[in-house]
């Protein structure tokens, strides 16, 4: 299953997750991710993509199998992990500055140093001048930037992203994707990026894992042979991009149809 190379930073072995309701979200998930890779996880809705991230972060436990990070089974919240949620997760009663400061405070950073680092990251995501704003005063894109700063400010080694840009309009979304790549490049961070958008997956990732309809398994795995740094505007017109897209779509189509049929039957 694992390719030769450096030992994986994240490994799922025979992971099954059954919820209290009896719903089986994952069944026998096996995969390993090498350090510093940008991996996209695609699959139809309800295939358990988000569950994989929760398990990797230590927010939830597998019902069966093991999830290990840096060779150790996950127990409690995983160290050095950042999580960007699909929904807004900024604390609405804290200003942008206090939201970005929060992880540093929780980690007991000295206040002068913490303030300097928070200010630096607020600047890097383009929110200078909005330090004293509350989340509800910002646009959706700006809230995502603030959330990005809140996550990157404590320099996590692993970034888990759960369709973070899916609520944004297309233009803002493309802008944010390009900025994310810019911030990630050279940061030596490992990323798992969950999406149901194949284009987004290919444009961003080194490697794409395609999942089956729920209960989710890994159906196939693709390397993205596009060179970096990528020109985000142009990469979609690369012939390798379109070739990969049609291969992956072949894999995904059956799963999407199945998940759609099930949703209709259930609804």
């Amino acid at each position: 299953m694992t390719s030769s190379g450096p030992p994986p930073i994240i490994a799922f072995r025979g992971v099954t997750k059954t919820f209290e309701s009896g719903y089986v979200a994952l069944h026998g998930v096996d995969f390993a991710i090498a350090a510093e890779r940008f991996v996209a996880l695609v699959g139809p809705s309800g295939c358990g993509k988000s569950t994989i991230l929760s398990l990797a972060a230590g927010l939830d436990r597998p019902s069966d199998g093991t999830v290990s990070v840096r060779g150790t089974p996950v127990d409690g919240i995983t160290d050095g992990v950042g999580f960007l949620f699909q929904r807004d997760a900024l604390l609405p009663w804290k200003t942008v500055r206090d939201n970005v400061l929060l992880p540093l405070q929780l980690r007991g950073a000295g206040s002068a140093d913490a303030r300097r680092r928070a200010a630096e990251w607020i600047g890097r995501v383009g929110l200078r001048g909005f330090e004293a704003s509350f989340p509800h005063q910002l646009s959706g894109g700006m809230r995502k930037r603030a959330a990005l700063a809140q996550t990157l400010v404590y320099d996590p080694e692993i970034l888990l992203m759960d369709e973070p840009f899916s609520a944004l309009d297309v233009q803002t979304r493309n802008l944010m994707e390009a900025e994310l790549l810019g911030l990630w490049q050279g940061s030596r961070k490992t990323v798992i990026f969950v999406t149901h958008d194949l284009e987004e997956a290919i444009a961003l990732a080194d490697e794409v894992l395609v999942m089956t309809a729920g209960p989710g398994r890994i159906k196939s795995r693709y390397d993205v042979p596009l060179p970096r740094p990528r020109d985000f505007e142009q990469v979609r017109f690369d012939p390798r991009f379109t070739e990969l897209y049609s291969k992956m779509w072949n894999d995904l189509r059956d799963e999407v149809l199945e998940s759609y049929a099930r949703a209709n039957a259930a609804g």
Binding site: A57, I77, F83, R87, A89, W93, P103, L106, H136, Q150
Partner: protein, 265 residues
């Protein structure tokens, strides 16, 4: 359903309210005067007093220093009941909402206790704590506690689970989650319940005074009643009305300034 809803003029509303109040008082006063001229008609002041009599009573009380003293006594009981009952309610709400077992055990019990008409307990409080300040404060506490408890409990249960998950990943321990996520979220609900909590504290204090006290607005009403002094009863009620209006206006003013992060909708 009209096509257009024009905003109602605030001045028109206020003017109408003022006219209705003045009209009511004038009719009352005239009814009493008519009765004085011909006892077969009008309003008997023995039962209903009259606006002029009530005003005279309040002026007399004022001259004796009763009004200020009664209001201060009642306010002090109210504030103590509000603060103590509020704190108990907040702590109970946080504990029961963040611990599933304790919540499952005690939340239904509190719902049950809340169904007791508190006024029936006041004689017990007086039996236990005497005519002292304590019986009034306890009476206010048992009303305030529940309002604040249910608001805190709902506020914490209402927290978006994503916020808790996010805080945990950011490094929050259990106590940090309470401090940074659960408590601030509940705070909006607590502030929203503040107006009714203040009202309940005042009711608790006044009712307990009514049952047995040596000062306070409730005592003044009860004392007048015992003297068959209807003017005194209405005078006490008038003072209570003014007090509630002033306090309520103040609370609304504070409320608007407390929650700065809420979108103005």
């Amino acid at each position: 359903m009209r096509e257009q809803t024009r905003p109602v003029s605030a001045w028109l509303v206020f003017g109408t309210q003022l006219a209705l109040t003045v009209g009511f008082l004038v009719a009352w006063e005239l009814g009493v005067r008519w009765h004085a001229a011909d006892p077969k008609y009008g309003i008997d002041p023995f039962f209903f007093s009259s606006p002029s009599q009530i005003a005279a009573t309040i002026v007399t009380w004022w001259q004796h220093g009763y009004v200020i003293n009664d209001v201060l006594v009642t306010m002090w009981e109210t504030v103590l009941g509000l603060v103590i009952g509020g704190l108990i309610g907040i702590v109970l709400g946080i504990v029961l909402a963040s611990n599933r077992f304790l919540g499952a055990v005690f939340e239904p019990l509190l719902v049950l206790l809340n169904s007791i008409p508190r006024v029936t307990l006041v004689p017990l409080f007086i039996l236990w704590f005497g005519f002292s300040l304590m019986s009034k404060v306890v009476s206010a506490i048992v009303l305030v506690l529940f309002v604040v408890f249910f608001a805190t409990y709902a506020g914490i249960k209402d927290v978006d689970p994503t916020l808790i998950a996010s805080a945990r990943v950011l490094g929050a321990k259990r106590i940090d989650v309470v401090r940074h996520v659960l408590f601030p979220s509940a705070l909006t609900w607590i502030f929203a319940s503040l107006r009714s909590a203040v009202g309940f504290a005042l009711i608790g204090a006044v009712v307990a005074e009514y049952f047995g006290a040596s000062a306070g607005v409730g005592y003044r009403i009860q004392y007048s009643e015992a003297q068959l002094n209807t003017g005194g009863v209405f005078g006490g009620l008038a003072i209570l009305m003014v007090l509630v209006t002033v306090v309520d206006t103040f609370i609304r003013f504070v409320q608007r300034r407390l929650i700065v992060w809420k979108p103005a909708d």
